[in-house]
């Protein structure tokens, strides 16, 4: 039997189907909602959603054209672009799907020794966790080497002087396995996206002591990445898809819709999980401390400075070569121009710049945008570092050196 090539699926009417890959995560909400509510159909975009069990599948299927787009962690999109884990495939990121939503979840025993961040007694989680990690070697799980979770967790631990690989072992544990791994004490904790921290809590095997926002208060999370080939061949469909997503992002960010979205995502063909566990991390859900953000605060804009932050962290942890020109790379992949072309006629306020200084706002602030400025949430890194895209750290700097310099900066401020 001859298997038809999956690289091109052209419909009878000449328009290409947009096949979007997703994982079983709460922040799949904007894509699932846009599909189920017919937002894509309203824009005449023919979409097929494909739920995948692993990031590896998402990356391989993008690389070989079995998927056209995906909800993806940005470091993995860069890995596909560079061919770091297989064949290279040019990717574009014209839209950001979510911010925050990850949790650091520990076994109940360990969590008992580590007060949850922002807890009533005023003690912070990180110093207590650092003490535990120095006392005995433990293993923490992350979802993929090229994940936001790996980079955020490393950054957080480094800010307390804990170096991953030296003081603590990081292992890749798929979130659907993390509950079992916690129960069997194969790992002492894990950093994963919602709803898996809540799933572990409900299973009685773990407790979340911190979320993305304790590491980077408005940490960008999933990006909508599309194969550059597909985008070039279907510019109108891509613009339509972005308009549909933007409608959906607004819908998903409204607290009133949380219960509805949770029940939609809980269906067997999507997350196939308890809707209450999903509800917890939705805007308006019960756990406001670690909820996902889908729209407010210019979340959907593909900030080049955020792409560059991910790349600089990938370089910091030797996940990419020192020889790569990060700025050129981020300009090729992160595409605010496509975002603007698609959405400027939609009454959406557009940031004036493509870059911003990350981690520079200890309080709420106002972003220059047209036609109206955008109200922005606090934006801070756990170590007080300020990431200015104009001044990248020099090549070959080790993690601990960066840590030391960040501390020096703190003293200087």
């Amino acid at each position: 039997m001859n298997v038809p090539s999956r690289a091109s699926t052209t419909g009878t009417d000449g328009t290409s189907k947009l096949r979007i890959g997703l994982l079983r995560l709460t922040d799949s909400a904007p894509i699932v909602t846009a599909h189920e509510f017919g937002f894509f159909a309203d824009e005449s975009v023919d979409v097929e959603l494909v739920i995948e069990p692993s990031w590896a599948n998402i990356a391989d299927k993008l690389a070989f054209g079995a998927l056209d787009a995906a909800s993806i962690v940005p470091p993995l999109a860069f890995a596909v672009q560079l061919g770091l884990r297989g064949v290279a495939q040019s990717m574009l990121i014209p839209y950001t799907l979510s911010a925050r939503g990850n949790t650091v979840t520990l076994t109940s025993d360990l969590a008992g020794q580590v007060p949850a961040q922002g807890g009533r007694d005023g003690l912070e989680a990180l110093p207590a966790l650092a003490t535990c990690l120095r006392e005995k070697p433990l293993t923490l799980g992350v979802v993929h080497a090229f994940s936001t979770h790996n980079l955020l967790l490393r950054h957080w631990l480094a800010s307390a002087g804990i170096e991953a690989g030296l003081d603590v072992k990081l292992a890749v544990v798929p979130p659907s396995r993390a509950v079992e791994a916690l129960r069997e004490k194969q790992i002492a904790g894990f950093c994963a996206g919602a709803p898996w921290g809540e799933v572990a809590r409900r299973a009685g095997v773990g407790y979340s002591i911190a979320g993305s926002q304790q590491i980077w208060s408005h940490a960008p999370e999933k990006a909508f990445a599309v194969r550059a080939n597909w985008a070039e061949q279907n510019p109108d469909a891509l613009a339509g898809a972005l308009r549909a997503l933007n409608r959906s992002s607004r819908f998903c960010d409204a607290p009133d819709n949380a219960a509805y979205i949770a029940s939609l995502l809980s269906r067997r063909r999507y997350l196939n999980l308890d809707p209450h566990a999903i509800l917890a991390a939705l805007p308006g859900g019960v756990e406001t401390a670690s909820d996902c953000v889908f729209h407010r605060g210019a979340t959907t804009f593909p900030w080049r400075s955020q792409g560059l932050w991910f790349l600089s962290q990938m370089r910091r942890w030797s996940l990419i070569d020192d020889s790569i020109d990060l700025r050129t790379l981020v300009e090729r992949v992160y595409r605010p121009d496509i975002y603007r072309d698609a959405l400027s006629s939609q009454g959406e306020s557009m940031p004036v710049a493509d870059w911003k200084v990350e981690g520079a706002h200890a309080t709420e602030w106002s972003l220059e945008a047209t036609p109206q400025s955008i109200a922005m949430p606090m934006d801070r890194f756990c170590d007080g570092a300020v990431f200015d895209p104009a001044t990248l750290p020099p090549l070959g700097e080790s993690a601990m050196q960066i840590l030391a310099r960040n501390r020096g900066d703190d003293v200087a401020r």
Binding site: S5, R6, D60, F64, V172, R177
Partner: protein, 200 residues
Amino acid sequence: MSLKILLIDTDAGRARALEEILCESGFAQVWRVPEGAGRIAAIERIQPDVIIVDMAIPDRDALEDLRVVSSGHPIVMFAGSGDPAFAEEAIAAGVCSYNLSGVPLQDIKPIMASAIAVFRRLRQVEDELAEARALLEERRLMERAKAMLMQGRRMTEPEAYRWLQKTAMNQNRRLAEVVATFVSQHDMPADPGKAKRKQP
């Protein structure tokens, strides 16, 4: 050179079938590891040259980490194969492989071709089974719709059938679709999975 081949599959029967084919072809060192705990330990113990893995398992992400942590740099087999059509076939069949020790492509290709064939065969059976199930479900819904019309609207069975057929024709929709909508509107509460089906 005798290659060490490790098979990781959710389907024990399929893995056994593939092992048989590979052994018959002279690959003596084949291991099967079921989905579940101990996969990573098995890899570290066996140190296979090639891993054939079912794409339906979430553990692929953990397998990839081995490449990052180990000093040798295992690569996805598809990488540099110069044969994207072959990789596409494998992905369509739902199987992929990792080449951990730089085995030449011509040695891996027949192994992967066998895996693709075995996976495709099972996929075909699964598709046929799903199709049969869908037909059964259509039939069940039809019976249910007819019973509801017979009881609720006092129709005879042929009348009920004709009513459904006519509705489908008027709405220009498939009969099975109309039946499913009718049953879900008149029979199923909001959550069909959990709620008890009430009698009309």
